[in-house]
């Protein structure tokens, strides 16, 4: 004691300085300076020659902890803290454990030492030490600790002689380990004994054990199902006890609120009890809890009402979970209704939240609906955005056909002033409700256009795609949509999304309103074009497509539009996409006959049915939160509705349509999980569909899915010799790919990094022209994703940029006609996204003297084209070779020579392969070694090659090693054909 005194005083002074400079908020620099000084001091103490006594060690470890908690990084002292664990002085041990709990993140070297110390304390039979050790495990909860102690702790937990406080810690410690490593906590004989802890005399033990039981029974409900009756009787005893019975477990006159909540929570892991007596007792409890809510408070303190209401809300959750007691559900709803107008913001918030789930129960849906005015009022007047958010959620949940118009209108008007943080979600919700409950689609169109007008910035692509899909699929609304959008566009400032929708709809259906001189074709065009210069590139691109559609719809606008397309700002636009569109559309409009135009630019076909992408987006946005659950529940409920009777009388509209048409159209949003059924005719009910969710849609999705007839014509299977032809190009980039009596196809290609460009030359060897010359590039197998069209004749100039999973191929069109003896060129741009095996297919169709020619070749794009040669010295080569020593990284083939084994030819081929040919690496000069890196967008794959010719046997042994097994294999296959 005495000897400690001087050190002690000094430490006070030092640490005081740190505090003071910290608290006084002196300059950050001063604080850092002070702390660095202190850290240096501590470091020197730890490193010093003199062994520190336990007290000083504790003091310095404590200081480090303090400094860490001030927000500074600590990178030493761990060892000293671990040393403290084995001290037999309580405070030293305690500080050691605290340091470990706060600062150790499964640092593998220390964890063994820590685990040792913990083990000692656990077996010490000293309850305070045991608790410290258990707290530490619960706080760190690493996998290593689970491995070490998951077997031991259950024993401590259920042993008869364990102290209550140790039991409590052991239960929650085990819970933490179970959460981190459920596989390591094995169920066993102890589980049944754990359930009986619910009967323990010590309330603290029950409180701790029940959290563990709840978690375990979620994963193993059968093993723990006896807990239900135990929980009910425990709950019943608490609920019926007087406020003083439970002594210190009564909190502000509420008996055991934490335990009650946990019991009610545990019961939510199970269905209602089957045993009538148990169930009766439970219902009694729930009724008592509901009754108590009506009694005058025993205290004015907020703690009293919070604790009481915490139990009430948990009871309501259980009632909602059971969803089988209409009486209780309605009572719960009424209770929440009272809270909706409570002066406590917290209660209003929770009532709104809880009602959201009640709204999805068929028993209480109607009761919830009666509160609509209060909720709307909350949306308008609550001062706290998080409460308004709950109100919006509830309106969404209580919406059905009977009140959709009112709710959507309220949400729209709220949007005008809504907080930025919740606008996007509100927009999605309005869009979904408008679609889901649309009886007449003009209301739907109005709503979405209003949405764009009010909150255009928050209208995501999914929303405006969707309105277009719906308009395209429903001919009864097209004229109205055209008229409305035309009017909306007349506003002096309108949102770009409005221009997009406007461009698309007028481009498709502008003819429906062209009869009115106020919206004549030219007026429409001028209106659209007046917005053009204010728009971004994608919108402009869409507008250009709308213009070309105008030329088809209204021949009288042709010259005006051609003039626009011809202007420098279009045809020489610095943006490639816009320029290309302008050039192509201009050309298309000048050379194509009206028939051709009419076919190319015909109205979009109806979209196939899919799940609404908006809904998907909302689900994604909310995560597994309340709304998405509601969605599913609601879907489920409506599903039940189909089979059984109706809920309430007001929703006859939807119920009738559901019941009368046993078609997929009843499932408006694709909520049900059943197998997708192909869409019936668009007229059948309310068929709403969605293409955009799946298709890798082009920038505007306008023309790309156009006439399917052309592409779907049967494509010939690849020629038998196509593999051979492909192999010819593995080691070279230029040459003749294919030749027959009619056609010659030449190739020139160049590659850099993961990009490539290929020029295809189609030569007509005859003296007669080829007509309707079409080429299509498709990617089979693993590359497959979407078909890429190169329209050349009837459907020329339509470009599609398609993202393949692995290979991005972009083609530029060829001319539709190839005169006799002439040659046309086509450019294909290629991007390698990830490694691949299958080559893309090139299909060529044309008519020669009336006969259809149809042939398919493999486009010589192979993975080695993306090689980047790597020079390296012998040493490096062998080092890397060894690094790639896993069996799957290597591919090897021994094969017979197909060609003469000429060294120079071999070298030329290996160079053509794209790798670097390394000299003086292999000790055997006859052998060849190469190195290179394949460049894909996703990753780089280093590859090494060794080719060992055996001239005597006329055999080769080829070995490849790459960091990716598929690459080794593919390269080996390709190369084995080359020599």
């Amino acid at each position: 004691m005495l000897s400690n005194a001087p050190v002690y005083k000094r430490s006070v002074k030092n640490i005081k300085d740190v505090y003071i400079s910290h608290i006084n908020g002196k300059s950050k620099e001063a604080e850092i300076k002070r702390i660095n000084k202190e850290l240096a001091n501590i470091r020197s103490k730890f490193k010093g020659d003199k062994a520190l006594d336990g007290y000083s060690k504790k003091k310095y470890v404590c200081k480090l902890l303090f400094i860490f908690l001030l927000g500074h990084d600590i990178d030493f002292g761990h060892m000293e803290a671990v040393n403290l664990l084995s001290s037999n002085k309580y405070t030293e041990k305690q500080i050691g454990y605290l340091f470990i709990s706060v600062l150790v993140n499964s640092n593998s070297e220390l964890i063994r030492l820590i685990n040792n110390a913990i083990k000692n304390d656990l077996s010490s039979r000293n309850p305070t030490f045991m608790c410290l050790a258990l707290h530490c495990i619960a706080n760190v909860g690493s996998r290593e600790m689970a491995e070490a102690f998951a077997g031991e702790i259950p024993r401590i937990l259920v042993a008869g002689d364990t102290m209550d406080s140790v039991k409590q810690s052991a239960a929650l410690c085990l819970l933490r380990l179970y959460k981190t490593s459920p596989d390591l906590v094995l169920m066993g004989e102890w589980t049944s004994r754990v359930v009986h802890l619910l009967n323990d005399q010590h309330m603290g033990v029950v409180t701790a054990a029940i959290s563990l039981i709840t978690c375990l029974s979620q994963k193993n409900p059968d093993e723990f199902k006896t807990c239900v009756s135990l929980a009910v009787s425990r709950l019943s005893r608490i609920v019926s006890s007087a406020s003083t019975d439970l002594q210190d477990y009564t909190y502000y006159f509420v008996p055991a609120p934490w335990l009650s909540c946990k019991l009610l929570r545990l019961l939510q892991c199970y269905p209602p009890p089957e045993d009538g007596a148990v169930k009766g007792r439970l219902v009694e409890c729930l009724e008592t809890i509901l009754n108590k809510a009506q009694e005058p408070p025993k205290s004015k303190k907020v703690q009293h009402s919070n604790a009481k209401n915490a139990i009430l809300f948990e009871a309501i959750s259980l009632i909602i979970h059971y969803d089988s007691e209409p009486n209780l559900l309605v009572r719960a709803c009424n209770q929440l209704g009272q809270f909706l107008q409570h002066r406590e913001t917290n209660l209003r918030y929770l009532a709104l939240e809880s009602m959201c789930t009640l709204a999805s129960s068929e028993f209480s849906h109607e009761a919830v609906k009666t509160h609509i005015e209060t909720v709307i009022n909350a949306l308008k007047t609550e001062r706290d955005v998080s409460v308004r958010q709950r109100a919006a959620d509830l309106l969404y949940a209580m919406c059905d056909r009977s009140n959709a118009k009112q709710i959507v209108a309220e949400m729209l008007s709220y949007l005008e002033t809504a907080d930025y943080s919740i606008r996007e979600e509100m927009v999605l919700k309005v869009a979904i409700l408008a679609e889901k409950y649309a009886v007449d689609y003009s209301w739907y169109v109005d709503t979405i256009l209003n949405l764009i007008r009010i909150a255009g910035d928050y209208v995501s692509e999914e929303v405006w795609y969707r309105v277009i899909q719906i308009v395209i699929n429903r001919d009864d609304v097209q004229g109205y949509a055209a008229k409305t959008v035309f009017e909306a566009l007349q506003a002096p400032a309108c949102h770009e999304n409005m221009v997009k929708v406007g461009g698309y709809i007028l481009g498709e259906f502008g003819n429906l309103i062209a009869g009115d001189p106020r919206s004549s074709p030219l007026v429409q065009f001028n209106l659209l074009h007046s917005k053009f210069h204010l728009c971004s590139v994608p919108t402009r691109a869409l507008l250009l497509s709308a213009y070309i559609k105008f030329i088809n719809l209204f021949p009288e606008t042709k010259s005006t539009i051609q003039e626009v397309l011809r202007s420098d700002s279009q045809i020489r636009n610095s943006d490639v996409e816009l320029q290309q569109r302008a050039v192509e559309y201009l050309k298309l409009s000048s050379i194509a006959s009206t028939d051709v135009l009419a076919t190319v630019l015909e109205e979009m076909p109806p979209f196939p049915e899919r799940e609404s992408s908006i809904l998907a987006k909302l689900k994604k946005k909310k995560g597994p939160g309340a709304v998405s659950v509601n969605e599913l529940e609601e879907g489920k409920r409506e599903g039940e509705l189909n089979g059984g009777g109706e809920r309430g009388g007001d929703n006859s509209g939807i119920a009738a349509s559901n019941a009368s048409t046993p078609s997929p159209s009843a499932d408006l949003l694709g909520l049900r999980t059943g197998p997708p059924v192909t869409a019936a005719a668009p007229s059948a009910g309310s068929l709403l569909v969605d293409v955009f969710s799946e298709a890798g849609v082009n920038d505007d999705g306008f023309l790309s899915s156009a006439p399917p007839s052309v592409v779907s014509e049967d494509t010939a299977p690849p020629l038998p010799e196509s593999n051979e032809l492909l192999n010819k190009f593995v080691c070279k980039n230029n040459g003749v790919l294919f030749e027959n009596q009619l056609l010659q196809i030449g190739i020139k290609s160049e590659y850099r990094q993961n990009l490539g460009r290929m020029y295809l030359f189609y030569g007509n060897k005859t003296s007669v022209q080829f007509v309707t010359f079409t080429t299509t590039v498709t990617c089979p197998g693993e590359l497959q994703s979407h078909i890429l069209h190169i329209y050349t004749c009837k459907h020329m100039f339509i470009l599609a940029y398609t993202c393949y999973d692995k290979l991005n191929v972009q083609t530029k069109p060829v001319e539709p006609l190839i005169e006799g003896g002439a040659q046309v060129q086509q450019v294909i741009n290629i991007e390698c996204l990830s490694d691949f095996c299958e080559a893309p297919l090139l299909n060529i169709k044309f008519r020669y003297g009336g006969a259809l020619q149809n042939l398919t070749l493999k486009l010589p794009v192979t993975i080695n084209k993306f090689f980047q040669p790597t020079e390296m010295a012998s040493h490096d080569f062998f080092q890397r070779w060894k690094q790639l020593s896993q069996p799957q990284q290597e591919a090897q083939k021994i094969f017979k020579a197909n060609h003469a084994m000429d060294t120079e030819v071999l070298k030329a081929k290996l160079l053509g392969l794209g790798m670097a040919l390394l000299e003086n690496v292999d000790p055997n000069p006859e052998n060849f070694v190469c190195a290179g890196v394949i460049q894909t967008k996703a990753q780089q794959v280093g590859s090494l090659l060794r080719l060992e010719p055996n001239a005597q046997a006329q055999m080769y042994r080829l070995t490849l090693r790459s960091s990716k097994d598929t690459v080794s294999k593919r390269l080996c296959e390709l190369l084995a054909e080359q020599f």
Binding site: S211, Q303, R348
Partner: protein, 176 residues
């Protein structure tokens, strides 16, 4: 419960307890974001908010904010009372607790919390039992730290006066 944070009105973190494994970087990011969000809220606003996929329950006591992150199915009101019980425990132990007690005796604040909550769940809700455990441990201390504590506390109080106006017991000075 996933974590509990205590921070001052100036945004200084005073205590942090994490019940889920997170990297230091994530912890810092979460702390920064949450402190900002909570401090930006006005008094009289509701004590709950949605944040990422968690529910935040917070309450201000004098100059300190107590802030808990709970999961979707957890009960907000009972969490609010967990906070209050913790404040009561601190208050009882320190005798009219103030922010400085938590700064200077952070280890005690942690020990009390560990007795009350473990692994994010209530372990012992009886005030008497929790304090008994802590006091028992105190008895084991070979050096009484009272002198040390009071000295720092005095000095701290003196230094802090310009910074914070309310220095009484936190438990008696609930805001909200």
């Amino acid at each position: 419960m996933q974590f509990m944070l205590l921070f001052s009105r100036q945004g200084k973190l005073r205590l942090q307890k994490w019940y889920v494994p997170l990297s230091d970087k994530e912890k810092k990011k979460i702390t920064r974001e949450l402190v900002q969000t909570v401090l930006a809220r006005k008094p009289k606003m509701c004590s709950f908010l949605e944040w990422r996929d968690l529910k935040i329950v917070y309450k201000r006591y004098a100059s300190l904010y107590f802030c808990c992150a709970i999961e979707d199915q957890d009960n907000e009101l009972i969490t609010l009372e967990i906070i209050h019980r913790y404040v009561e425990l601190l208050d009882k132990y320190f005798g009219s607790v103030c922010e400085l007690d938590i700064i200077f005796n952070f280890e005690k604040a942690y020990f009390i919390l560990d007795e009350f909550l473990l692994g994010g769940e209530a372990q012992e809700t009886s005030k008497k039992n929790v304090l008994k455990a802590i006091e028992q441990a105190d008895l084991l201390q070979e050096v009484r730290r009272k002198y040390f504590l009071s000295l720092i506390k005095c000095f701290g109080r003196f230094a802090e006066q310009s910074q914070t106006e309310d220095w009484g017991g936190l438990a008696n000075e609930e805001i909200l």
